[in-house]
C-alpha cells in the first residue's frame, strides 16, 4: 500500500474543480442564451479552488522553494507541462477575474477553458507512469475529466444564474451515470490483468475509500438528482467529498509494479 | 580492477597512542559532500553542473583515506581479511582484502555491517551496573567503580573459599582474536578458577578425526577445485562459508559432481547437482551402507588401505556382518538404488572429497557419524590427496605464542589439587610450570552451563565472568539458565550490546570492536593469516579484553597487592606483536608482522592434509580400528550408533541464519532492513494437519519451554520437522534455546575436554496460537 499523498489529492481534485468550473462556464456562455453574464463571483470561486489546490501541492515537495525549477524539463517531462499549464491557467484566470466586464471576456473564458483542458491532458499523462501498471494508460485522464465535469458542474450551481440550472442538472446527471459506470467497470477489468493490475483491482474493491467515493460521490448524488431534479447547495460538497476519497484511493490503493518483483508478473 | 591507483592515494598510519574516544558518527551528507569536494568541483566548468567524464583516481579515493588492515574475528570458516577506509577518524567503508585469494575483495552481509557497528546508537558506551537483574535499571559508573565492585567480590570469594574456584569463566567464540585469549589469561592471573571448557561447536567431529587420523586437519579449501566429486554433508556452505562456494562452483565447472546430503533443502542444496533429503541423524547409517557396497563391489583402494591403515579387515567384517544397503536405505530414507549409484560414483572419482559440516555431528551419534564418513574417504584412498580429503577443519596455522593466554597464578593460589590438563579445542597452552603442578583450574562442561552452575558445590559458582559469549542466547535450556543465574552472586558481562545475557547481568563492561583493538586472526578452514590493526580510537569508554584485564589487575593490586599478576599497564600493540614467533614467520613466509600491513599472508603448506601419510595416531596410520576411541567410551570401529529416541512429535532443527553469527549482527539497524523478524518454517502438509496458514502466529513447545513466532509454509523442511533459525533480534524475546536441551553428543571429551551437545536432536510440537 502506498501513501494517500494528501497534498496531491487536494491539488489534483481542487485544480481539476477549477478547470471544470471554467469549462462549464465557457460552454454555458457559448450554449446559453445571449451574451454571457459572467461576474467576479464565478471567477472568484475558480481562483479559490485553484489557489488552494496549488498551495497544497507545495506540501508535496521536499523542497517547495525550488518548485519553479520544475519548469525546466519541457522537453520530455509531462510534469513540467502540467506546471506550465496550471501556471498559465492561473494567469488566465486572474486575467479573466480582472477583465470580467471587458468585451473580450468570453474569449478569455474560452481560452482559459482550452488551457484548462490541455492541463487536464498534461495531468492525465503525468499520473499515468509506467510504475503503476493499472493506470499506465488513458484512465487517469478519464478520471480527471470526470472529476472536472462533476465538480465543475456541481459548483457552477453555486454561482450560475438559475436559468442555467436545468442545463447544469442534465450535465451533472449524465456525468454521474458515466462516472458510476466507469468506476464500477474499471476495477473489474483490472482483475483480469497482470499481477499488479489485478492486485490493484482487489485492493480497490477492498478499500472503504473506493466504496465511499462510489456511494457518497456518485450513487447518492444520482439518487438526489433523480428525486429532486435540481442541484441543492450541499450536493457539490458531497460530490467533492466523494472525489477526495476517490483520489485518495487512486494514490493509496493502486499497486506499484515493483511490489511484485520476484513473483509472476 | 586496478589496485595500484588506489595505493598511490592511500596513506597508512599507525595509531600507536591510546587517546580519547572517537568522534561523532558519520552522517551521510558529510560523506557525500566529502566525495563531491574531493574531486567533482575541480572538474566542473561554470554553468555545466555535471562531470561527463571524471579523471580516474580523482574522486572517492583521492588522497583523503587512511587504510588499515582488519580481520573478522568471528567464529566463521571464512575469517575474512578486511581493508578499512578511514577518514576524519571515522570508518567510512570497508572492503574485502584483494590480496587474499580466499576473501577476494568481498566480505558478507554480516561483515559489511561492521561499518555501522561501532557507531550503532544502542552500543554499550560505559561501564554500567544494573540494580536488579533483568530490570533494565542501568546506571552508568566509572571504570574505577566497576573494577572496585568486581575486585571486592573476587577478594570476598578468595577469603570465603580460600580459592577462586567460585569464580567461573563463560567464554567461547564470540571473538577469536588471538589476544582475546587474554581473558583466560586474566582468569589465570587471578588464581585457579572454574573454567567452562569444551565446545558446543564441533567436538564430536574433532574427536572422531583424532581417533581416525590423529588430528583434525583439512585440505586447503582452495584446492577443492581439483576434486572430481564433492559431497557437502550436513553443512550449508552457501550460508556459513560463502567464500568457499566459489571453489565448489569451479570444481563443478571443471566437471565434478556436487552432492549435498542434508535433512533440509538448504541454499547449498539448491546449488548442487544432486540433493539427498536424508532423515536427520542417520548419516552414519548411510555412510556405512555406502561403505558396504564399495566393499562388495571391490571399489575401495586396496593398496592405499594396506599401506596406510590398520583395522580395515575388522571394519570389513563389521560391514559384512551388520550393514546392508537395504538397511541403510530404510534407516536414512534414501532409496537403495541411489545409495549404490552414489557409492560407485564416489569410489571411482579420483580424487573425491567430503566436506563434513558441523551440524552433521551435533547429534548423540555425531562422532560415530564422522568416523563412518572418514572411513568412506579413507577406504577410497582419498585421504592425503589434493582435491580429496575428509574436510572438517584444522588448527595448523594457530601456532602463536599465546602470550596473552599464558599468565601465572599469584603466589599461594589454591585450586583443584593435582595437575589437570585443561583441554579445549582452542587451548594451546603447554605450561609445564612446576609451580602449577600442585593445583589446577576446575573444568566444567560448557555445554551444560546451566546444569553445572546449579549442581556445582565445594565451592559453588558464585561469580560468572562472561566474555565472547552469550549464554542466554547460545547455551541450552534457557529456562534452566534463568534458574542457574539466580544462584550466581555476581555476573559480569563484557559486550557491545544489551543482549540477553547482559540483561541478566549485574555489571556490563563496554568492549571494543575489531576496528578499535590490535590482534591477529587465523582461520580454522583456510590457510591465511591477517593482522587486525586499530583503525579508529575506541569509542566512548570501550576497552579491549586485555585492557580490561590490565584495568582489573590495577584495582586488584591496589586493594590487595599481589592478588593479580596481570600487568597493570599494557601496550595493546606490543601484546599483539608478542604473539608472533619465528614459527609463524616461517610458516607464512614473512620476515616480520609488519608485512601483514600490506595484506594477509598465506601459509606455505602443502594443500593436501596428510599428504605425507604420517598420521598422528598411536599406530602412525589411519585407524579404522581405534583403541583410543575405545578407551574413551566408544566403539573401536566406526560402528553404527542409533539416533536419539524421539521424545516429541516432530524433530526441531535450529541451524544458523545467513544474516547473523549467533547473537551478533541481526540486532543492528542495518540488518533489520533486510531481516527484521524471525519465522518458524513448517511443511504445508504439517500445516494443513494443524490448520496453520502462512503468516499465522504459532507456538513451538516441548518439555523444556516454548517459543511463539510467525509461521511460514515451506517445502525446504521435511513434513516431520520444524525449522527455526537461531538468532537474537533486538527487542524480541524470540529465542530458540527455550526449546533446546543440553543432551550430550557421543564424543568430544578426548580432545576438547568435554562431550559435545546434540543441538539438532531436539523435538517439539507446534500449534496455532
Amino acid at each position: 500500500m502506498s501513501t494517500i499523498e494528501m497534498p496531491l489529492v487536494l491539488f489534483s481534485v481542487l485544480s481539476q474543480t477549477a478547470i471544470g468550473l471554467v469549462v462549464i462556464n465557457s460552454c454555458r456562455q457559448w450554449a446559453a442564451d445571449g451574451p454571457a453574464k459572467t461576474d467576479r463571483g464565478q471567477w472568484g470561486i475558480v481562483l479559490a479552488f485553484l489557489i488552494t489546490g496549488m498551495a497544497a501541492s507545495f506540501f508535496h515537495l521536499g523542497h517547495p522553494l525550488q518548485a519553479y525549477t520544475a519548469l525546466k524539463h519541457l522537453g520530455k517531462a509531462w510534469l513540467s507541462w502540467e506546471l506550465l499549464g496550471i501556471s498559465v491557467f492561473l494567469c488566465l484566470t486572474l486575467l479573466g477575474f480582472f477583465m470580467v466586464k471587458g468585451k473580450n471576456a468570453r474569449l478569455v473564458t474560452t481560452l482559459t477553458a482550452l488551457v484548462g483542458v490541455l492541463t487536464l491532458l498534461f495531468m492525465g499523462m503525468t499520473y499515468a507512469p509506467p510504475g503503476y501498471p493499472a493506470v499506465n494508460n488513458v484512465l487517469p485522464l478519464v478520471f480527471f475529466l470526470i472529476t472536472a465535469l462533476l465538480l465543475g458542474t456541481g459548483f457552477s450551481a453555486w454561482v450560475a444564474p438559475s436559468a442555467a440550472k436545468p442545463w447544469l442538472t442534465r450535465i451533472l446527471t449524465v456525468t454521474l451515470i458515466v462516472g458510476v459506470i466507469v468506476y464500477l467497470i474499471v476495477p473489474c477489468i483490472w482483475l483480469s490483468g497482470g499481477t499488479s493490475m489485478a492486485q490493484t483491482g482487489w485492493t480497490w474493491f477492498a478499500s472503504p475509500l473506493y466504496w465511499g467515493r462510489v456511494a457518497v460521490g456518485l450513487v447518492l448524488p444520482l439518487a438526489v438528482l433523480w428525486r429532486i431534479k435540481d442541484i441543492p447547495l450541499w450536493l457539490p460538497v458531497l460530490i467533492l467529498l466523494g472525489e477526495l476519497m476517490g483520489r485518495a484511493a487512486f494514490f493509496r490503493d493502486t499497486v506499484h509494479a515493483a511490489a511484485n518483483i520476484g513473483g509472476l508478473q | 580492477m586496478n589496485n595500484h591507483k588506489e595505493e598511490n592515494f592511500m596513506t597508512t598510519t599507525n595509531n600507536a597512542a591510546e587517546v580519547q574516544p572517537g568522534s561523532c558518527p558519520l552522517s551521510r551528507r558529510n560523506f557525500v559532500k566529502g566525495l563531491l569536494a574531493a574531486g567533482l568541483v575541480a572538474n566542473l566548468p561554470c554553468g555545466l553542473l555535471r562531470p561527463l567524464q571524471s579523471e580516474a583516481g580523482e574522486i572517492v579515493y583521492g588522497g583523503d583515506y587512511e587504510t588499515f588492515r582488519n580481520a573478522c574475528p568471528r567464529n566463521c570458516y571464512d575469517t575474512c581479511s578486511i581493508k578499512t577506509f578511514v577518514k576524519d577518524g571515522v570508518v567510512q567503508f570497508i572492503e574485502g582484502a584483494t590480496e587474499s585469494t580466499f576473501t577476494r575483495g568481498g566480505l558478507c552481509v554480516k561483515g559489511y555491517g561492521y561499518t555501522r557497528r561501532p557507531y550503532s546508537p544502542d552500543r554499550i558506551k560505559y561501564p554500567m551496573v544494573q540494580e536488579g537483574r533483568g530490570s533494565g535499571n542501568w546506571k552508568r559508573v566509572s571504570w574505577n567503580e566497576a573494577m572496585e565492585r568486581i575486585a571486592k567480590k573476587i577478594l570476598e570469594i578468595q577469603d570465603k573459599d580460600g580459592s577462586l574456584l567460585g569464580m567461573a569463566l563463560s567464554k567461547y567464540s564470540g571473538n577469536f582474536g588471538i589476544t582475546n585469549y587474554g581473558v583466560e589469561g586474566m582468569m589465570s592471573s587471578l588464581g585457579y578458577t572454574t573454567r567452562l571448557t569444551g565446545t558446543p561447536c564441533w567436538p564430536a567431529g574433532i574427536d572422531a578425526q583424532n581417533f581416525d587420523m590423529g588430528d583434525m586437519w583439512c585440505n586447503d579449501p582452495e584446492d577443492m577445485v581439483n576434486a572430481r566429486y564433492v559431497i557437502l554433508w550436513g553443512g550449508n556452505a552457501a550460508w556459513n562459508s560463502v567464500h568457499s562456494v566459489k571453489y565448489v562452483y569451479e570444481a563443478q565447472r571443471r566437471g565434478a559432481k556436487i552432492v549435498v546430503i542434508d535433512p533440509l533443502l538448504t541454499q547449498q542444496a539448491a546449488k548442487a547437482d544432486e540433493y539427498w533429503q536424508i532423515r536427520t541423524s542417520t548419516d552414519g547409517a548411510l555412510a556405512l551402507g555406502m561403505a558396504r557396497h564399495i566393499l562388495d563391489a571391490k571399489l575401495y583402494d586396496r593398496d592405499w588401505v594396506m599401506a596406510n591403515s590398520i583395522g580395515f579387515e575388522e571394519f570389513a567384517d563389521y560391514l559384512r556382518g551388520n550393514i546392508t544397503v537395504e538397511w541403510a536405505a530404510k534407516e536414512s530414507g534414501i532409496p537403495a538404488a541411489n545409495i549404490i549409484a552414489l557409492a560407485e560414483e564416489f569410489a571411482t572419482a579420483k580424487p573425491a572429497t567430503i566436506w563434513l559440516g558441523y551440524g552433521l555431528q551435533r547429534h548423540v551419534n555425531g562422532g560415530a557419524t564422522v568416523r563412518a564418513i572418514d572411513a568412506l574417504v579413507a577406504m577410497t584412498g582419498n585421504v592425503g590427496k589434493i582435491g580429496g580429503g575428509a574436510r572438517y577443519g584444522h588448527l595448523r596455522t594457530w601456532g602463536f605464542n599465546y602470550h596473552a593466554l599464558l599468565q601465572k597464578q599469584p603466589e599461594g593460589a589454591k585450586g583443584v589439587p593435582g595437575k589437570a590438563e585443561v583441554k579445549g579445542d582452542f587451548h594451546f597452552a603447554g605450561g609445564d610450570d612446576a609451580a602449577a603442578l600442585s593445583y589446577s583450574d576446575r573444568s566444567l562442561n560448557i555445554n551444560k552451563t546451566a546444569q553445572v552452575i546449579l549442581d556445582t558445590d565445594d565451592p559453588p559458582i558464585r561469580m560468572l565472568w562472561v566474555a565472547c559469549k552469550n549464554p542466554f542466547s547460545q547455551d541450552f535450556d534457557r529456562n534452566k539458565m534463568i534458574k542457574a543465574f539466580e544462584k550466581l552472586e555476581m555476573v559480569v558481562t563484557v559486550d557491545q550490546f544489551f543482549n540477553e545475557t547482559v540483561a541478566m547481568s549485574d555489571i556490563v563492561l563496554p568492549v571494543t570492536t575489531l576496528f578499535e583493538e590490535w590482534t591477529i586472526n587465523a582461520s580454522y578452514w583456510h590457510y591465511w593469516l591477517s593482522i587486525n590493526e586499530r583503525a579508529i580510537q575506541p569509542m566512548y569508554e570501550a576497552k579491549s579484553d586485555i585492557q580490561i584485564a590490565a584495568t582489573l589487575s590495577n584495582t586488584m593490586n591496589e586493594l590487595r597487592p599481589g592478588s593479580c599478576t596481570f600487568p597493570t599497564e599494557i601496550d595493546s600493540r606490543e601484546w599483539m606483536i608478542k604473539e608472533f614467533n619465528q614459527g609463524i614467520y616461517d610458516l607464512f613466509g614473512i620476515s616480520s608482522w609488519e608485512d601483514l600491513k600490506n595484506g594477509p599472508a598465506k601459509a606455505k603448506m602443502h594443500p593436501a592434509s596428510w599428504h605425507d601419510l604420517k598420521f598422528g595416531t598411536p599406530s602412525g596410520k589411519y585407524e579404522f580400528k581405534s583403541e583410543l576411541a575405545e578407551q574413551w567410551g566408544n566403539k573401536a570401529l566406526p560402528e553404527y550408533v542409533a539416533p536419539r529416541k524421539q521424545n516429541n512429535k516432530y524433530r526441531l532443527l535450529t541451524p544458523h541464519t545467513k544474516f547473523g553469527l549467533h547473537s551478533q549482527f541481526v540486532n543492528l539497524d542495518w540488518s533489520e532492513e533486510f531481516y527484521p523478524e524471525p519465522f518458524v518454517y513448517i511443511h504445508p502438509d504439517m500445516a494443513a494437519e494443524k490448520d496453520i496458514k502462512d503468516g499465522d502466529v504459532v507456538r513451538i513447545f516441548n518439555s523444556i519451554g516454548e517459543v511463539t513466532t510467525t509461521a511460514k509454509l515451506s517445502t525446504v523442511v521435511p513434513a516431520d520437522a520444524i525449522l527455526m533459525y537461531e538468532a537474537w533480534f533486538k527487542n524480541n524475546p524470540y529465542n530458540v534455546q527455550n526449546v533446546v536441551d543440553d543432551t550430550s553428543s557421543d564424543m568430544g571429551a578426548y580432545k576438547t575436554g568435554q562431550p559435545g551437545v546434540a543441538i539438532h536432536d531436539q523435538f517439539a510440537d507446534v500449534a496455532k496460537v
Binding site: A70, P130, G131, A257, I261, G263 | R28, R116, W239
Partner: protein, 188 residues
C-alpha cells in the same frame, strides 16, 4: 551498439547471501528504508523452494529511463557509458521518478527530502574499480558488463518475476536459477 554498462545477474550462481545489498549500504550509509540494492526472493511459482533463488536488483540504468524522462527539473542525465546519474543537488523531492520507475529504483530519502538511487558507483568506475556490490559478491553472481559486447549464451532480459518494460529497455541480463536433482525421503 553504443556502450551500455549493465548488471549481469547470474541467478544460477547467486546464493541470496545479501552481501551485495549490505556492501552498498556500507559504501553509502543510506538511512532506513532507502535501499539502493535489494535482493528479491523468487516466489514458489517461479522457483519451487521458498527463499532459495533470488534476483539482486538495484537501478537498471535503462536505455530510455523513465526517471530521466519524467523528472521536471532534469536532475537525471545519462552518461556516454550508459550510467544514469541522479544529481541530488537539483532534486526538489517531487517523487515523480519514484512513482514512475516500475523497478522501484529511486527511493525517497526523508533526511534530505530528495530522491536517490543506485549510482552504479560511477565514481568507483571512473577510478578503475568495480561497483561495491559487484566487487563484494563472493560467487561472482553479480557482474558489471557492457551490453555492446556482452554475449553470454542463455542470458535473458526479462526472466519470470522481473517486470517487462521494453520501452524503458532496462540494462540488465539474467541467467535463470536451476534445480538440483532431488532425492526425497521414502519414509515420509
Amino acid at each position: 551498439m553504443k556502450k551500455q554498462y549493465a548488471f549481469f545477474i547470474d541467478a544460477e550462481r547467486c546464493i541470496g547471501c545479501f552481501t551485495c545489498a549490505m556492501a552498498c549500504k556500507n559504501q553509502y550509509h543510506q538511512p532506513e528504508k532507502v535501499i539502493w540494492r535489494q535482493v528479491y526472493p523468487l516466489d514458489e511459482e517461479i522457483y519451487p523452494y521458498t527463499e532459495r533463488a533470488f534476483y539482486s536488483l538495484a537501478c537498471n540504468h535503462c536505455e530510455n529511463p523513465t526517471c530521466l524522462n519524467v523528472c521536471p527539473v532534469k536532475a537525471y542525465y545519462k552518461r556516454e557509458d550508459g550510467v544514469v546519474v541522479h544529481e541530488q543537488e537539483k532534486c526538489i523531492g517531487c517523487g515523480n521518478c519514484i512513482r514512475s520507475c516500475p523497478y522501484g529504483a529511486p527511493r525517497y530519502n526523508p533526511e534530505v527530502k530528495k530522491a536517490e538511487k543506485c549510482s552504479f558507483c560511477w565514481q568507483r568506475i571512473d577510478a578503475g574499480l568495480k561497483p561495491q556490490c559487484v566487487q563484494s559478491c563472493p560467487v561472482e553472481a553479480l557482474q558489471i558488463v557492457d551490453l555492446a559486447t556482452f554475449d553470454k549464451p542463455g542470458a535473458v532480459q526479462y526472466p519470470p518475476g522481473f517486470p517487462k518494460y521494453p520501452k524503458l529497455n532496462p540494462s540488465v541480463r539474467f541467467v535463470l536459477p536451476r534445480l538440483p536433482k532431488i532425492i526425497g525421503r521414502e519414509d515420509i
